[in-house]
Amino acid sequence: MLVKFFKLCLFVFVLASLIALGTSVLCAQNVELKLATWHWTEPGRGDTLKAICEAFTKEYPNITISPVSLPYARYQDQMMIQMAGNEAPDVLVAADIMFFAFMNLGYLLPLDELINLKALEPEFLDAQKISQINEKTYGLATEYVTYALLYNETLFKEAGIDHPPTTPDEFLEDAKKLTKAPNQYALGTRHSMNEEGGWWYEMSYWVEGFGGKWTTDGKPSVNTPEVINGVKFYKEMYDANIFPKGVDASTYRRMFWQGKIAMLTDNQATFFLALSSNPDLNIKAAPGPFENKLTNAEIVFYTIPKSAKHQKEAAIFLDWFYRHLKDYGLGVQNVVGSKSANKIILEKFPYLMTFVEAPLADNGGILPKGYETRLPEFRHIVLNHVTSVLINNADPKAEMDAAQNELLNLE
């Protein structure tokens, strides 16, 4: 009996190998562009992207687009592995941190020779200037989502508040009125190291609101009074128990559209997601409750790797894609700030002007100038010290001084 089993195992193995080797033989007559992004599996966005690619192939029948789809959480890792292993896609979608890392590693192709950038200029977003280094453009910023204060008007009315807060103190006051733990909270925010990446966006938002900057003139400046005030205020929010602790962003965003959370400091993609998940929701957006109205952004760039196999065709696609973005509604949701998309959205949601008007902080706010590639280390150090303040009641000034020290000594 066992011998039969053995033989079966051997047979299965040989068969499987043959099938495997057989299927790996594929001949492409036309050019097949590999488009790598995490958007393929996103609800709504994936289908839109497929539609765009099909429309492109109609116009250029010898170029087809094949998706390279990876889960968002591991997208950056996989792209790094593929680039190192010389299996780069032809078009690579890169979010901010990854874009800078790849650019500094020399993985990306400058687009100036391949695409007529002057022709595209009228459609450029504010964020486009970030992709220009040394007079060369390394990517097309196709979307950026900015941060604002999202709030639930119904809950505000119930609590007797008639307008969104405009100062931090007003914010805290309102928050206390809006919190009816455990079934209703005033805020949802990331606040722990298991969501380090997402927390950085929110921490940056508050710190900028208080006038702080992570770096000044290319050097860390995390212990300036403004930054420390921002951290102090975050601690006040933490101690006031106005947000559910230990809850991750996915959960509190859902609580927001269930009407269990009154405010979020989040981007407009979340805004539209909330509306599409619960159309009855009465939510609006307002500028952040600070004097300083800067906002930060999550930017998405479309790039071409240097080791891409079909550079010219990739460039053709990029050019076409950029010009047709707004036709597919991709513009409406995310490309706030582009001049043509503005009109469409603002007709429908006038209060979204806040996303448009808020001036973008340096480098999108979350990338400390001079430390773009080293953002993860930078962020880890700063947020570790903030965690100390929040959990161990450490002194904010002492902690931020220690962070500044560590950053200056970073090898």
């Binding site: 299965v12 299996e87 962003a249």
Partner: protein, 281 residues
Amino acid sequence: MKKHSGKGIAIRLYSIYLPTLIFILFAVFPAYWMLVSSLQREGNLYIWPPRIMPDFTQFHVFQRLFTTQPIALWLKNSLIISLGVACLSVLFAIPAAYAFSRFRFRGSSVMQLLLLLSQMVPSTVIIVPLFILFRNWHLLNTYASLILADTAITAPITVWILKVFFDTIPTEIEEAALIDGCTPWNVLRYITLPIAVPSVVTGFTLSFFEAWNEFAYALTFANDQQMWVTSVGMASWIGWLTTPVEIMMSGALFFAIPSVVLFLVLQRYLVSGLAAGAVKQ
């Protein structure tokens, strides 16, 4: 063994059945909680006190799961790879374990150490060299790459399990058979292996489970959407903004079924009364 007197039954209850029940509860409760989380009305997800029972009117979650996600594809890929890995591991491990157990030869210790060494290597640092290797062999996005990479991890474990088991089988039976004129191959086939069935089944199961759960290699070497295994597919549900919890949990429950069922079927082969009987002869 225990006698079944009245007092004996009470002892049995408290010393065996009750603890077993506690273990089962410990093992199964999170899976139950997955069921509870996936079958809830939207408004009942985040409340205090939390709902303890699943809401069976929400069964359409499973329907949504099957209609919006290529579950069957992922399941097929996972099954092919896991079965392949399990078969291959056992295929390689049995001869090696037999050699280590029954023979004393130069390099035996070194080889065993090498196999153990392979278990100590974190996959994070070898994933790039492996990626380049599979790329050069044109094996990316094939079943072969995953089967090979996973077997390299599971086969050594299987060798060790089998070797330890072989060591407990007295050699008198084999010696007797050889003296009677049996060829070594037949000894292995008709005497040793039948006794070793439990550990072979264990090794098969271990390899299957390891491959079933494996994520990093599956994502790196086979990220073409047609080649996704269940672990990669599930990871794709963790979105940029939000994760559909009910899809994740219902999917998880569904994907846990094949491996548990496999074990249910195989576990009867863990019985081994042969060793005791054979020696007495």
